[in-house]
Symmetry: C2
Subunit: 384 residues, 2 copies
Amino acid sequence: MAQTAPTALLLSIGSELLLGETVDTNAAWLGRELARLGLDLRGVRQLPDDREVIARAFSSGMAEHDLVLATGGLGPTHDDLTREGLADALGEELIEDGGLAQDLRDRFGGAGRMPVSNLRQAQLITSAKPLDNPIGSAPGWWVEREGRYMALMPGVPAEMQQMWRDHVAPRLERKLGLRPLAVRTVKTFGVGESAVAERLGDLLVAPGHGIDAGIYARDDGVHLRFSTRLDASRLVDPVRRALSALGDDVYGTDAQTLPRLALAALQRAGVATLASLESGTDGALLAILSAHQAAEGEARYQGGALFVDGEPPAAAADAVLRVRLAAQGALGRSRVAVDLAAPGIGFEARMVRIHGSGQQRLRRAAFAALDLVRRAGTIGERRA
Amino acid sequence: MAQTAPTALLLSIGSELLLGETVDTNAAWLGRELARLGLDLRGVRQLPDDREVIARAFSSGMAEHDLVLATGGLGPTHDDLTREGLADALGEELIEDGGLAQDLRDRFGGAGRMPVSNLRQAQLITSAKPLDNPIGSAPGWWVEREGRYMALMPGVPAEMQQMWRDHVAPRLERKLGLRPLAVRTVKTFGVGESAVAERLGDLLVAPGHGIDAGIYARDDGVHLRFSTRLDASRLVDPVRRALSALGDDVYGTDAQTLPRLALAALQRAGVATLASLESGTDGALLAILSAHQAAEGEARYQGGALFVDGEPPAAAADAVLRVRLAAQGALGRSRVAVDLAAPGIGFEARMVRIHGSGQQRLRRAAFAALDLVRRAGTIGERRA
């Protein structure tokens, strides 16, 4: 890190994580939030439901970091031991809180209707303030001890996210007087990670004083990320240099996405509505297009179809984007047939190659199609 | 853990993980694999691209565990420091390996076409044997020192998985003489986690000698998991007790899934082909149905459509399953309208409530629809 910031450790608690029953998506979500706030997340540890292991992790985390966050292990069952672990680490005792117990009973619609085990969720230690959880039964904890902060949040992503936004993030901003991290991202598609790095030369290694640079291969292409805790204007120069080195392979920066740019290219070409047709992709293209937040200046996505066998269904829209993903070939390569039928813009059936497997392979096929639409729009404009 | 097994630690390396740019799906995948082999994964640590931090994690991991696995940080760029970290921890020097360097040049189609930075991937230490990576440029490492084992694998999931299956897992089975973990899973839908736990009484806390029990809330319902490193027959009794306590809310065990059971129920009712129509779900239903591995004795899934606005398209199949997910309501609850039009089986439009947000909410809506189809099939058979 180029500057010093308060440091944080995240404990993701639950044996289901270590057994691979659950993917820890909370860690990445909180990682983005902590970076946005200007906290330096120095590590994530997944721990089993083991009281002693949890207690030790809190103890060493508190010794080394300004903030220790934990998710999970706040449920009502016998293997939910996060409360016990933190109590042990702090040498405090768990006591049932009358107010929390009443809240829980109300939540279940009366005392007789609540499983008795849920009362464990009403326990507190003296140093902890409860954090409200309006969409689940597990309250969180906020703890301050000797200038260090700890927050316990539920493992269910929606509950954790709401608690973070309503209670934990505001407290951290207030208590730590945080300086945010300025971030700029340059996004490319169709070029490999090391080829991108090569074209950038020194820019990745020495992006400038107080600036960090990173390069990430993602489903929607290779992204460059520049960040600083100094003034955001310092990022203008490295971004300009990256754009000039990478030319047409850059599709956008920051919040620009391939669905947005493809739909905007279509609209500029006079296309009002788009439908999609796909096979071999498990619906990756329609999932990406329907999850996209529609905005002004874009063709409207009307919906799409996935066909497993037989004839593709007919689609009634100004433009139809077709994607067919072939079975996976040697060396992890797959072929994607892409076709765009539209007035004013388009191309005949094209074949592109993608790399990867699993979900990534399906999503890359969809992004490859959107990148072709985006490029077709750009070329059309240059001709005009 | 009820029995002692060799213990393992996993290091997931890369600042992109801590910044939340990438979700660490490798950890869950390896967690399942390690459990299957009979290794006890005691922790996962996500680490930044920091040579000293990585070296310390290897040192302490080796001191405490039989096996230390690492994924990520084997790329060609300056911030890929896993090789350096392990070399430092072992006090060994990195040396370019002539054979690996030649393999890399061949891979890129000749010396002149390889970015020079890729040569970093040809470095080895004396204790390390290289592991072949046929689908990527980063070779892995296998290291044995003082009865401890270490394996470095790439961070790209497809590359890691292939290297694990071809090289790492076979070596571990041979070297450690592993006894596998027997696992049985009982799956329910439509009942909350604590209600399931309540109905099971003592079974979760004391499932029997040498048996571990866990309960997990997943997109496709609440799962109970019983496991043992003793004889698999010990699991018969707890599974029988769980089935009897939970009755109709159990939809299956082990590899049985809601898509499989719904498609089988349709076929038993004389339905040969199914199509789906959905809105508000980003295509979750068609994604689940098309990712399902079709088998004998099931109706065939023909494909589906997602509509964003306007009239739903017509579907030509024996049966059509329709799902419409409403906007998210208070307390994280959403309403799902489900309708099944089919000869011989079916129900009129039904409304079910689901909990959750984000991807989970979309997938739960789809699974709720499949659970209704599964239940309709069961009821039809009881009547017949």
